[in-house]
Subunit: 340 residues, 2 copies
DNA sequence: GACTGGCACTCGCTACAGTCGAGTGCCAGG
DNA sequence: CCTGGCACTCGACTGTAGCGAGTGCCAGTC
């Protein structure tokens, strides 16, 4: 029951060795590679206890031990020391992200950077519209009965929708509409627009009411309710790195999961007070990802959080390193957004 | 040298059987499953010739024959009959695409549809900006020194760029700028804008010349020269279907290639007079894809071509079926774009 | 009581031999 | 030119044996 310090040290050594070598680790190899100060036999006893408690297991009788999901969990929670990034890595992050000109560019660079640094699959959610404030709304006449609504958010995100009007509209009226919606909505968080929109329609001059209604409908339905989230993905080739030993043989379920936006959002989008989250193997709610681990965090300018990012890899991953990288990248991206 | 009809029939039978079973096919099985009207021994002689000519090969001595890339090529060029889509498939395509509300939506639905129907990786290029005409240009003031340039193309594609002005600009001047650029550029194909842009700057009123210059620079550099192509991808999970026999064991090179936009564009973007193109194994210029085949085509409203689409799979693929599907989907999408 | 050395045991891995059978190439005959 | 027959090849599979990494347990020592 009680795991004394040495048993914990043994567990840590097992995790570290296994992550490094990808091979079950035995008692003898363990005492050779780590200064545990005891004999293999003692380690074996400790291992027996650790196995009984479910932290490690034996693939087969005559093999070494491998950490279980539970073992990784303990390792992450209590045994891993933070591994600070090297100055070179910090510089690389800074340099790589500094060149971005655009929100699109920022997101793309971020996701590639994450994939490259962690050598795993990276996922980055675009700043969520719901968490953004309206910076500007633009109405572009396409024809007399069609407008294009362009929403520019303070996070730099831009989204456009086609609005089919119930009746032809005059150019001056378009300007009118635009002025009104901007007056009422600029600076407002998108998730808080619904109550305001009704007022917009009510206060509208009668002959524009029809147009205003469809406009608001588009705004609400396609941008607010149906949370239009966008996501960038990179590094899927990294899945095929570990010689098919990770992910119990088939990449198929993983690749399938990664194709579903909903799944990806669930992975990284559930932003919570605790900034960084690690889900190990079985802890994942998505069945297809039971053989994988996910390290995710929220990001945003200052203390606010506008989106999530994270990486996905085999349960046998370098948790301290991955956690440090994800955290650092998220912070830099946050700073970048704050400058805007 | 001369391959008589029966030898060709044998090759066709081998390709069809191998595609279906994924196992080397022997002479006996061949005469059983196809009405060739001759004995296995005769087929063996034909096979020997086909092998000598490089159309098929034996994985090992005591195994059946497998088509080579060259064999597939001959099959595609001369032996495969067009396999018309079933009415159900046609309806499925129509129904699935009809619901699209948006260009983004069209592209996404198309790529998923292709992946699903062919059970392979699908790639769809957004309508190329260079091949589109300008429908409208919009300038949205973000601050006194920042404009957002929104380009709306006749294909429905919308692209925006941030323009950092050299000096603060007055709101009325923004309207002025907008009017001028729209007057000169609407209806013009983007690839033909460069010469016009210089005139724009020259004819511009002096106090707006600075703004007009940076504006044009952004327009030319980020939208015309640096061909801003966008691409959608789906069905990567299908790569992991064939029990790792396809793609000689490792998905890694394929996944790596699929992560490079440049590579994808090369795959499907080189639109040529001949509408449909099949590249088999070695014929691919990209080294990572030497174990794959690509079926690609251009699409667009009417006879014009605004982008490419295609699928990628193992060389051992159902060419007639895939070709028929790609062609059909491209046609439907073209019709959809034409309606707009 | 905790640690250690020693020892028997388990069991996956590899090598090797043997068998089976699918598939071939070749040849003589129709 | 096609066919049936036949010898041959060689991968796949099976069974056996030896090796060795790794373990669990126990008696002995500090």
């Amino acid at each position: 029951m009680g795991l004394d310090d040495r048993k914990l040290a043994v567990l840590r050594a097992i995790v570290e060795d296994y992550v490094a070598t990808q091979e079950p680790v035995g008692s003898k190899a363990l005492v050779e590679r780590h200064q545990l100060g005891v004999s293999p036999a003692t380690v074996r006893n400790d291992m027996a206890v650790l196995e009984e408690e479910g932290y490690i297991r034996q693939p087969h009788t005559s093999a070494g031990r491998v950490p279980t999901d539970r073992g990784y969990r303990l390792f992450v929670d209590r045994l891993s020391r933070v591994k600070p990034l090297s100055p070179a890595e910090r510089r690389a992050i800074e340099r790589f992200l500094a060149g971005a000109v655009d929100l699109d560019d920022v997101v793309h660079r971020t996701v590639r950077l994450l994939a490259q640094l962690t050598r795993q699959v990276a996922v980055v959610q675009y700043p969520s519209l719901a968490r953004s404030r309206v910076r500007h709304l633009e109405l572009v006449p396409i024809s007399t009965t069609r407008l294009m609504l362009v929403v520019i958010a303070d996070t730099g995100r831009v989204e456009q929708r086609l609005v089919e009007l119930p009746a032809p509209i005059h150019a001056d009226d378009v300007l009118d509409l635009r002025r009104t919606v901007n007056e009422k909505l600029v600076g407002i968080q998108l998730s808080e627009t619904p109550p305001l929109v009704q007022a917009l329609i009510d206060e509208c001059v009668p002959h524009l009411r029809g147009a205003m209604t469809t406009l608001s409908t588009v705004l609400l339905e396609t941008l607010v309710e149906r949370h239009e989230e966008r996501i960038a993905l990179a590094g899927t080739a990294n899945l095929a790195r570990g010689g098919l030993l990770d992910f119990q043989g088939s990449l198929r379920p993983i690749l399938e999961a990664l194709e579903e936006e909903v799944v990806l959002l669930k992975l990284i989008g559930e932003v919570e007070p605790s900034t960084l989250r690690v889900r190990i193997g079985d802890e994942n709610e998505i069945d297809n990802l039971r053989a994988a681990s996910v390290v995710s965090t929220g990001y945003g300018p200052g203390a606010t959080i506008v989106g999530g990012m994270g990486v996905l890899g085999p349960t046998r991953m370098d948790y301290p390193g991955t956690i440090a990288t994800v955290r650092a990248v998220a912070r830099y991206v946050g700073e970048l957004l704050a400058q805007n």
